[in-house]
């Protein structure tokens, strides 16, 4: 089985809001704050590794990432245990939206040829749009199972996936090839073992351009974007304190009245 993991390097979501600026339609982090692998994509890698480890030896995992900073994401997933990495790198990909990204990733998956399963995070932890996995499936015309809590190959051609619902779980089976997006309920991604980390640092990662993928520059990147950013703003948090007076009973009654008035109760 050949599994593809899609991984994205993002602005560190742990960065305190005070540590970045907004310039036009860009978020500029403070110096010294390095981008990180999107947590959901690390979980996607974990899901792929679990599928591989539960099966006879011979499966391969390829990690795909798009954009220059994706090289670090690929290294990290390789360190976790993936076999190969491909970086989709081209000036034409810059400033693309989910659609362009999915188009490029799907083209890469087609180019790889023998892919049985694509695993993505349920959403990237920066913009939280959750579109890319779905659009890859659409582009490949494969079935997709979203928000997985566990992924298990029941044969070479079938997958059993437990999905997270609002009020419980749902187990579905799907024929391969397919796309699966995973959620944090799957569990924490593994810590890389050092021998793998060192081997990953030495592995060469293929770089494919838009031309390699047979994509026209107008379809991807800023040129192919279907999403238009209207406004970007830093969230502001305001707090106002109002002291209630009177006896405990009066305070409680006043509190209830205020909470009702504000629609909290």
């Amino acid at each position: 089985m050949h599994i593809v993991v899609c991984a994205k390097q993002i602005l560190d979501p742990e960065t305190p809001a005070s540590a970045f600026r907004i310039e036009g339609d860009r978020v500029v982090p403070a110096p010294g704050i390095a981008p990180v692998l999107s947590q959901f994509d690390a979980i996607a890698a974990e899901a792929a590794l679990r599928v591989k480890e539960a099966r006879p030896v011979g499966d391969r995992i390829t990690v795909l990432s798009l954009g220059e900073s994706g090289a670090a994401a690929i290294k990290q997933v390789l360190a976790m245990g993936a076999d190969e990495g491909v970086l989709l790198q081209d000036a034409a990909f810059e400033d693309g939206d989910s659609h362009g990204t999915a188009l490029a990733l799907a083209a890469a998956i087609r180019k790889l040829g023998d892919v049985d399963l694509v695993v993505c995070g349920r959403q990237a932890a920066d913009w939280d749009q959750g579109q890319v996995g779905l659009l890859i499936a659409e582009s490949l015309d494969w079935p997709i199972v979203t928000v997985a809590q566990s992924v298990e190959a029941i044969s070479d051609a079938d997958l059993r996936v437990r999905r997270v619902l609002d009020d419980g779980f749902e187990t579905v089976e799907v024929g391969l090839p397919a796309v699966v997006t995973v959620s944090n309920e799957l569990g924490a991604p593994r810590y890389p073992r050092l021998p793998q980390l060192m081997a990953a640092a030495k592995k060469s990662v293929a770089a494919w351009s838009a031309a390699d993928l047979g994509l026209a520059t107008g379809d991807v990147g800023a040129a192919g974007a279907r999403l238009r950013l209207a406004r970007l703003a830093r969230p502001t948090h305001e707090s106002q304190v109002e002291m209630l007076t009177g006896t405990a009973e009066e305070q409680a009654a006043a509190l209830v009245a205020r909470l009702r008035a504000d629609g909290v109760l």
Partner: protein, 726 residues
């Protein structure tokens, strides 16, 4: 409650004093022996003994046995990796072998045990010398045992026999009658009883033998010589009361000679089979003791690895160095390490003694198979045995419970270094197996991607500067770099400490600057948690930053950064003068550049952080500052100075969940509260966080909460009069 020490703590002198007294008494004996008219005084060696050669037969057997034992042990030690460092710095090593090994300096930390052990060991040494002189007298052309020296010889022989009996009695009293301290019973084995009983019997039969001889010979023939063997003489006088026939006494003497001989050699034979081997191994282990700082962990050379298959940490017994294997054999199961271990005190699953003993028996049981496998198949033989060491013989949770506080190493009388051994096994867990508790893994991931160990901090490295004017950035022109550290800048509670140090530095007129956003973690948490690879990446990056900035002198907020900069960065050629803020502030107070003018009327207690105190020996500077604050009254805790108890956060336990028992910071907070002081003063951002939590949890309801403060916060109040405006 201890009174405040007036001077820097010194190693205990109990044992030195003991030898002084012993030599003094012997000297008096020598002088009086020469004063006495003793012309011709001597005795027949092997009096009434039919087969004196049997002594040599026993000796030969003993030597054979000892050789056999040593060869067997050495075969196990040789399984370990090389330890080239033990041949460096020989003068310090010889000094350690003399002071800590033969001089038994560490034993004095438990006074009773120190006196007991000094009695027993000095008795064994002197009586062995006595026996050797008898052999020389009997079987060489030299005859030392004549005249005044014979009388003196008789005197000190008896003196040290008696001293030995005093020691044995103290041991018996402690082990069987008061059963204190409990540690003597933690891992008690039959051999422990044999050793005490055997030695007691050897000494007693020696005296019986002597008294029978004196009764039959000297008491009648040379009554003026006899009293020099004062114990034997007194016994002989007592025996005389019963008016035995000489032939009865001779028969008794002959019989007891054999018993004494058999007991003495059997007892010495225990060296091969029991913990009595510490008699040989402890002084050697003192020689092998590291001569650099205990705060420094060994460097792994990732570039030049001995073999590519080698694990990075120690997961198999043969991946320890031979020095680490050797020290397993030096352990006498005394339990001192475990009795001072913070995790153990709190009831958590760690006993340093059990770790050493478990590794020792693992080595003994698997070593021969490994050696055979190496002989037949070659290689390291990691597959030779099917017993999992880390995760099996030694449980993961024991390794994680260690605070690396060094209390065990400080106490060990045979100089075992537990902490590096524990960290080596952690390295295996983290780097080779990636088997890490989730919270520690999160801390390591944060260190790697964010350069600090905290997840979800809302602060920045410059937040503490808000409200302070003109915080100078370090650019190489200033004398000192003030190193704030992650805890000092990213943890809310520690910001006032950072501001206090900053204000005091500025007030003192020091030339200094800070790095602000350019600070990254020193790497200490990664190293203590076992990720040496990550540590080296962080440390090398910082060494390069310091070199680029021209940093010569550093003042740190945190004793952990302090220890790493001072003791560990030289491993990467990062050499600069490193001061903990308390060291700088004490100096500034002494030279008058800071003046503590406002009174702070508080009873305070002081908590020694492990990495400023035990690991770096700095107990005095913080205490001196507290003393110079008018009004502050220092009340010491029971466990203080080199016996100080860890706050619980050390060794990466800031980021580990505590398992089993109490929380260490609750135990320590209770100890601080028991002093009755209103504040607990420390020098470490982690200690302060632990006390904030601990005092809240432990304090009796209704009582005013004891507040933890840094030394700098206390001094700030005294220098400026009020806390900095928030």
């Amino acid at each position: 409650m201890n009174d405040r020490p007036t001077a820097a703590p010194r190693p205990p002198r109990v044992l030195g004093a003991w030898w002084g007294a012993a030599v003094g008494v012997s000297g008096l004996g020598l002088v009086s022996a020469f004063e006495a008219s003793a012309r011709g005084a001597t005795r027949e060696v092997f009096f009434n003994v039919e087969a004196p050669w049997s002594v040599y037969a026993c000796l030969a057997a003993l030597l054979g046995l000892l050789t056999y034992g040593l060869v067997r042990h050495a075969a196990l030690w040789r399984l370990g990796r090389p330890a080239p460092e033990v041949w460096r710095d020989l003068p310090s090593r010889l000094r350690n072998a003399l002071r800590l090994g033969l001089g038994q300096q560490r034993l004095g930390r438990d006074r009773y045990a120190g006196v007991m052990h000094a009695c027993i060991s000095s008795s064994i040494v002197v009586l062995t010398l006595v026996t050797i002189q008898v052999a020389i007298e009997a079987d060489t052309p030299f005859h030392p045992l004549h005249g005044a020296y014979y009388l003196f010889f008789s005197f000190y022989g008896d003196l040290f026999g008696l001293v030995g009996l005093v020691g044995v009695s103290m041991a018996v009293w402690r082990r069987y009658f008061i059963e204190q301290p409990p540690r003597v019973r933690w891992d008690e084995r039959i051999e422990d009883h044999l050793i005490i009983a055997g030695l007691g019997l050897v000494l007693l039969t020696g005296f019986l033998l002597e008294s029978a001889r004196i009764e039959v010979t000297e008491l009648s023939q040379h009554p003026d010589w006899a009293p020099w063997s004062f114990v034997g003489y007194a016994l002989a006088r007592f025996v005389r009361v019963f008016a035995f026939e000489p032939h009865q006494l001779l028969a008794f003497h002959g019989a007891i000679w054999w018993v004494h001989l058999a007991l003495a050699f059997s007892w010495l034979g225990l060296i091969v089979f029991t913990k009595l081997d510490h008699l040989l191994f402890a002084p050697v282990n003192a020689f092998l003791l590291r001569t650099d700082s205990p705060g420094r962990l060994a460097l792994i050379d990732f570039e030049n690895r001995p073999d590519d298959e080698a694990p990075f940490g120690v997961g198999h017994i043969q991946d320890f160095t031979w020095k680490q294997l050797f020290e397993l054999d030096a352990c006498v199961r005394c339990g001192r390490c475990t009795s001072v271990c913070p995790a153990n005190i709190a009831g958590q699953p760690l006993s340093p003694m059990a770790i050493i003993q478990d590794l020792k028996s693992h080595l003994a049981s698997t070593g021969p198979a490994i050696a055979e496998h190496r002989h037949e198949v070659g290689g390291i033989g990691r597959d030779a045995v099917n017993v999992q060491m880390v995760g099996g013989v030694i449980e993961d949770e024991s390794l994680w419970a260690c605070r690396t506080c060094g209390a065990c190493m400080q106490e060990c009388p045979v100089l075992i270094e537990h902490v590096p051994t524990i960290v080596d096994m952690r390295r295996f867990l983290v780097m080779d197996e990636a088997r890490i508790p989730a919270t520690a893994q999160a801390a390591l991931e944060n260190l790697e991607s964010r350069g600090h160990p905290w997840r979800g901090t809302t602060l920045e490295r410059t937040t503490w500067m808000q409200g302070l004017e003109d915080v100078p950035m370090f650019d190489g022109t200033q004398e000192y770099l003030y190193w704030v550290g992650c805890a000092g800048s990213l943890v809310e509670r520690n910001l006032p400490v950072t501001r206090a140090v900053f204000r005091l530095l500025r007030e003192s007129g020091a030339s200094f600057g800070v790095l602000g956003q350019e600070e990254t973690c020193s790497g200490d948490p990664a190293r203590r948690l076992g990720n040496e690879y990550l540590y080296q990446a962080l440390a090398q990056q910082l060494v390069a930053t310091f070199a680029a900035k021209g940093v010569q002198r550093v003042i740190t907020n945190c004793p952990h950064c302090f220890n790493t900069f001072k003791n560990e960065y030289p491993q990467f050629e990062g050499r600069f003068e490193v001061l903990h803020h308390t060291e700088f502030l004490e100096r500034a107070l002494r030279d008058g550049s800071l003046r503590a003018v406002h009174a702070v009327e508080e009873a305070v207690t002081y908590h020694d952080s492990c990495y400023l105190g035990r690991m770096n020996g700095q107990y005095e500077a913080p205490r001196a500052i507290i003393e110079m604050v008018p009004g502050a009254n220092l009340v010491e805790m029971q466990r203080n100075l080199s016996r100080g108890l860890c706050c619980g956060a050390g060794g990466g336990n800031m980021w580990l969940e505590e398992r089993g028992g109490q929380r260490v910071n609750h135990v320590r907070s209770a100890e601080a509260i028991a002093t009755g002081a209103s504040q607990v003063i420390s020098n470490c951002p982690f200690c302060i966080q632990m006390f904030e939590d601990g005092t809240t949890a432990v304090q009796a309801a209704g009582a005013e909460r004891m507040r933890p403060f840094d030394v700098a916060e206390l001094l700030e109040r005294s220098v400026f009069g009020a806390p900095v405006a928030e």
